[in-house]
Symmetry: C2
DNA sequence: TTATTTGTTGCACATACTGCAATTTCTGCA
DNA sequence: TGCAGAAATTGCAGTATGTGCAACAAATAA
């Protein structure tokens, strides 16, 4: 089987990522060319584009994927859907919780350059799509129906804000920050039914 | 005074926009070069980049700006903040409500190309920043505090989803769609306090 | 070993975008 | 009206991103 090949590719991709993040963190996005990254990663300039479609792609965390078991549990659960979603998503943040150094470096880089801010936001948007699909499945609705779209958008937004808070001034674990953010979200909407701010 | 100059520039920018949207709508983003757009708009290739920093920028609606009076009213109101925000933001959607043809063309183009999806999302993100600032001001909090960030994110997300719904299968006015979406948001969070889905 | 599949590389090329200096077009004022 | 200075447009030369293709190298399966 081509398991070795697979791992080799993953390792190469990772080498490129590390080279890219370090170079850009040190010198800024515009002062680093794909040639320099390739050089540092020990591959040919052409090969860079075999792994990443564009320069900035090497500066983004790999796309997260749900674990199948967790999805199955989510689909049949009858608990409140928001709670279940948080539970489903939290494991995906472990990569960051476990590598806070890399996370903060990436966060720092991202904040510094509009193009990267954009790509980060876009990553969340793609994630939102993924979430939307499982929600629609659980609710037995079409995936472009309003309700799944809305719930997915809200949940993803909550995660995003929580991660930003955590990066900016978070003290505890990422999990705690997410819990906190979601409970605050409930408060906000509860208040909007009354009259005083 | 250079009022004429100002208007002339606005007109040129608009000419470029129209040329860009039409060309891209007809032929797809990748088959349209900045040279072609410049040609169609009757300007030199170099001038295109005096108006737009990158090709795709000509395909985005100009950045919305709050009306000062509306902001002042918002800042001192004591009604529920979510309602006030909706009221503050709705006028900004009038450009689209009044030009549904242009809106749908833009929406169609945006959906077709990942790069443009990204830029649209980014536009909402910049909008979110703007909203965050006025919320912080009203709440007399620092603009990077958690609460303003979260409210801004939620509101912007609501607007985004509403606009998408409206573009996809909206029948009435954009305003109505926004109202509807926000009331659905409240429902979602209300349900998360109970046990049944 | 040999054949096949998979990954890497070099090369040629199109397009995006920038800096600079020359030129044209506008505006305010005499 | 005509002129001086400001602002906008343009051409040119150059760098960097990203793609297609075909040759080549390496790994796997037989």
């Amino acid at each position: 089987m081509s398991d070795l090949r697979e791992r080799r590719k993953l390792r190469t991709a990772n080498t490129i990522r590390v080279a890219a993040v370090n170079l850009v963190h040190a010198q800024g996005l515009d002062n680093v060319t794909t040639d320099m990254i390739s050089e540092a990663a020990g591959i040919s300039p052409r090969t860079f584009f075999n792994y990443f479609r564009y320069k900035e792609a090497a500066l983004l965390p790999p796309t997260p994927v749900f674990e199948q078991n967790a999805v199955n549990r989510f689909l049949v659960s009858t608990a409140p859907i928001l709670d279940d979603l948080v539970e489903l998503i939290i494991p995906l943040t472990q990569f960051f919780s476990e590598n806070p150094a890399m996370f903060r470096k990436l966060f720092e880089i991202s904040q510094a350059h509009p193009k990267l801010v954009m790509l980060k936001i876009n990553a969340f948007h793609e994630f939102e799509d993924m979430v939307r699909l499982v929600i629609a499945k659980r609710l037995k609705m079409k995936s472009d129906a309003d309700k799944p779209s809305l719930i997915a958008a809200l949940v993803t937004t909550g995660i995003r804000v929580a991660m930003e808070s955590w990066a900016n001034h978070g003290t505890g674990s990422a999990d705690k920050e997410i819990e906190r953010t979601f409970s605050e979200m409930k408060t906000i909407f509860a208040q909007s039914d009354q009259t005083a701010p």
